[in-house]
Symmetry: D2
Subunit: 371 residues, 4 copies
């Protein structure tokens, strides 16, 4: 099945396939799922067309679930978060910050559906297994959002608990669907159609051979500032812009199998900013640029009895991971735009996809097309 | 109606009425509503008895709404927050932190109903008024929680959107109902029945005459550590304890009409810890001790056009406000316990109220009974 | 020599000896040095009398050094810090926060001598040993301060590098000198003579048997708010006050041998506030209330090659450590006042010591004298 | 004199003069001093050559002073700070964070001279004017650093108090000396000779016409990652690298005359990261990437009596300032490298300047040379 998905995924070109040059070595899927155990599921809701009637549609939204150890593990992971610009929501971060643990999945949806998804994660956890020795460990779920109200009837509250359940239940490893899927369905990125994007890096064996994977729900940015591979691509494709400013938001989820403690993951979460910097972001006032990073190493670290034995990478070995973080973030954003397709939503509002040929032309103009 | 409520409230003794000595001068209601404009509403849900059947009850829970400028104003206030121990949730804090504004009400409920209340606040806002020039300004609601699963069928998800609406729609100034009401219905404080408590302080005219009001949803603490007016009252009333440890949580909402900017409100939020310290808290690992502070001064400060003229109290005039913060917090916690009544919840679990006579005896033993 | 010091220390009564009741079990010395390996050294500078002549004196100041693993180890410890009120300085905290490591000693001196002590620590480190593989590891020293300008010619810059060297070179385990010594020489606490104080707690074997030790440089507080063992002792001894407000500062250094990671030490640093709350602090605007916590467990964790194996106590085992933190902080402050002696400084300004008999009388009045 | 300096400065090409394309409109001097009132002074210490003899040299270091309102004003400014990577020092930030005020100059020097410069700022303040009503307001000076030990005898402690005095006393408006001057004398940036760089942006009148100025002490980065105008210039000039990794640090000082409160300045400080992202930084473990931002608007805001009237730009007008921040940071780093000249320091270690012709060639190769 993974192979089949892979075939599908490969049928659709990704940024590298178009000749966008990126540094570093990606994993097999060039996806967050290259970090062993990580699973991703999407629920995509698309229905109706034409004029907005609140509560009826049109609907262009969804839910994405990222499960650090897959849907069958209840074992928390070390985690940390960072906010570059806070005009957004990521629930569950108060306990993440204090405990150093991410105790369940990371869910991403639209701004007005954070609540329903949050409580649904608790309900799903209750159904899944009896409470742990300390009570229900997923009672403070992590749910993030970006706003899709340019295309979606966001005030119609179309996301229901079953949509969260479905994203969780269908999560899988292997290739990750990108573009107009899951929480990213109705999102807009640098005034092109945006959505979900992912990328990964595998470190050299001398640096430990660890994997760093990034998944973004990309809904931020202005066309005018967009840089791809350092080139101001947005200025080469000025037509059909949406806002003429940096509104919207981006949620970034980073996974690694490197054995890091929460203090170190916090540092990594901060470095995600630099990847967005390479892509030209200036993180406008209206943006909710919120990042979360976790490590799948050290299973069982949350355990409630006795002492735990942990493995930690020294701080002065973090540089290759910092660099991989920047690179994978830079690429995941571009992958989101490359995968997304032109969409028409509420009130017949259309947002165009990044035209692949024009992207190649722009890179070629600046001698940046690879090969 | 306020007068009638006042009569009711006065019929029930508060901590001061029992002879507990506190410093400082409270406002008319000795409540958060002494800060002009602040309104508080509760929805209290009590039904069923006996053995827990998830989804059926017994139900001992609710919702409390604190509206900084009352339910008819959409004008944000300057705000800030602080976490003493993070095993809890307060949504909306990412934007609060970054923007310096609290853009809607502060809602408090049980842990597993944060989501439904969050989305309901958005729905309520949408019904209330057309979007502002920047879109819906309450799209990132502030909702906090403590866990009532010792008494309430928390996994039954009994809080519905209409319960949030009701708390918002019935919010009022004047006396504030305390104890087993609203979000505090099923809460436990220092192993006595807890819930909602409030208190206020009015500064001397030389200090500006400002008012500081505090409201707590009190669900934290161990009997053994409880101090009232400095006396280890918990040790004088050792029977019918619940956990023998500091589990549970406390949400503290602080309002003031002093003209403070967000940086200053952050400092005040931190000082709330000192009030809990006076009451004997050590803020256990299981506790979600999360505080929010706002100022009703500077109306219109969020406005989106032109420059704003603000008034600011100098930093070196903050001391009386810091002291009032500590004092009002110290008292609000005791008021919650004094007002709460013995409750029997799921599985016939009973939590006793703080016995008023025993409290007086304990204070008398240590020569601390006032008058 | 330790035995001799112990005899000296015992000759001077501490708070417990006076009948002040405290909870919990202290270690052998009831000092931060009960945490194995921790050493403390003081340089005390007292000279001159009478009218202030800037640069000439009178001098009432000094330097205190706390060495996490003793003066002969260069091995960093895990650490974290927290600011309750930021009107003060603790250098080195930027790297402490990001790295999770305290790489050298914690030094405490007066406000205007932080710089000279900081650079002196680097010079001492350079003399002590060749650079480590990453360069000099103590190049970002941690130096904190409180202001002694009510008694000391602080603008005369009387602290010199050799005074820092001496505090480091004479650091020792065993009993810790308290009161008018080291950095605490000219300090004022709750408008009594203050200075250095210390205390410790040993956890039950069932909680791991760990030790928590606290050392304070105590220069904060208002007489009117001072609580000892819950009693408003300050109001019982109202004469000879200094400022009638909460000015000054307090530096708190906490050591433990419990195996904690930096995230956990950050939580502990926050809980120090609660101990100050018990003592009546409201942490005034002029106060620099800055706390640092470190763990001597996990030696070698900073190492620069390969992976490190760490031991970590689970979060849900932290409660006894949180409680010990609050208790040891509460007691260390009182120990500082009990040990300090009346001092006359610049311009013949005299600050009285807390009168032991009056303290006992106050506690007796409220039935709080132990035994 | 300003004119003369301008002539000198113009004699030396800056990045724009070489054809490096940047967005946005700089001020008259394209310097932090375009923000009215800001003054910059340097003390440059260069002496000796050949083999390192600790304490004797060679010396390649200095001090830079940035005075928000010039050297003759003692009026604090609103400020905030942010750390992207914390392997560095900026003293005074604890009070900056809590108070929201920067109360004196920002000083920058080498890592091992932070202490001497810090205490010297206090001494300078004492000489300058009598204490304010609250005592000496510059007692918690802001001093930052980067390490110059690849070229300078940093363990020789060659910076003396008079060097700090000189930087303060000679501070001036108008053109700012860049490259191997002041604190930047011995610094290395992206493995080229680095040091001091500056740039500014003037907003459109429709955005308020405010000025944003940035000054960097640039000592960070790896050649391999360096991007200029989006082009991987470092890879085009691979010879004479220094470390092959991202070591070193960067201090960024941002000034604006826009009327911003501290919460807003904190947001701006965070956005500085994005400018470094554009230049290719991944902010390695060894880097102290610490940023400070202040606003010269609202003079007198710190005053200690009565209420203050402030002016505040609304949050949703911040976007042009965020973008200017990113642009000015991006350019200031390049200006530092363009201005710096090849230097030989301790042990005859030579670090080459960025060759201007090679830079132009690289940009031309990618069709990025302006005009």
């Amino acid at each position: 099945m993974v192979a089949a998905n892979l075939a599908v995924a490969q049928a659709k070109p990704r940024a590298r396939d178009l000749g966008v040059p990126f540094d570093g070595t990606p994993g097999v899927y060039n996806a967050i799922t290259d970090v062993k155990g990580v699973e991703v599921g999407h629920t995509t809701l698309i229905s109706g067309s034409g004029k907005l009637k609140v509560g009826e549609g049109p609907v262009r939204t969804g839910v994405t679930a990222v499960l650090p150890r897959g849907k069958d593990s209840l074992d928390p992971v070390f985690g940390a978060w960072f906010t570059l610009n806070g005009n957004g929501e990521m629930t569950g971060t108060t306990w993440l910050e204090d405990s150093g643990f991410l105790e369940g999945p990371v869910m991403i949806t639209n701004t007005h559906s954070v609540g329903v998804v949050r409580d649904a994660v608790i309900a799903w956890r209750i159904k899944k297994a009896p409470p742990d020795s300390e009570g229900y460990s997923w009672s403070l779920p992590v749910v993030a959002e970006t706003a899709d109200d340019d295309l979606n009837d966001m005030n119609g509250f179309h996301v229901k608990p079953e949509h969260a359940f479905h994203a969780l239940d269908t999560a899988h490893g292997g290739p990750v669907e990108e573009g107009n899927v899951g929480g990213g369905t109705g999102m807009i990125c640098n005034e092109f159609k945006g959505g979900i994007g992912t990328s990964s890096r595998v470190l050299d064996a001398t640096a430990g051979g660890y994997t760093v994977g990034v998944l973004v729900q990309c809904n931020y940015g202005s066309r005018e500032q967009l840089r791809i591979a350092g080139i101001n691509v947005g200025r080469e494709i000025p037509e059909h812009t949406v806002w003429q400013k940096d509104v919207g938001s981006i949620i970034v989820v980073l996974a690694t199998n490197a054995p890091l403690i929460p203090t170190q993951l916090k540092r990594i979460a901060k470095k995600i900013s630099l990847g967005l910097g390479r892509d030209g972001s200036y993180s406008g006032d209206g943006s909710g640029d919120i990042f979360i990073a976790f490590s799948t190493a050290n299973p069982g670290a949350v355990g409630t009895q006795g002492l735990h034995q942990l493995t930690m990478l020294p701080n002065d070995s973090l540089d290759p991971i910092f660099l991989a973080t920047v690179q994978a973030t830079e690429e995941a954003v571009v992958n989101a735009m490359v995968a997304a397709e032109t969409m028409t939503g509420i009130n017949n509002h259309t947002v165009i996809a990044l035209p692949h040929d024009r992207l190649r032309e722009a890179l070629k103009k600046y001698n940046r097309l690879s090969k």
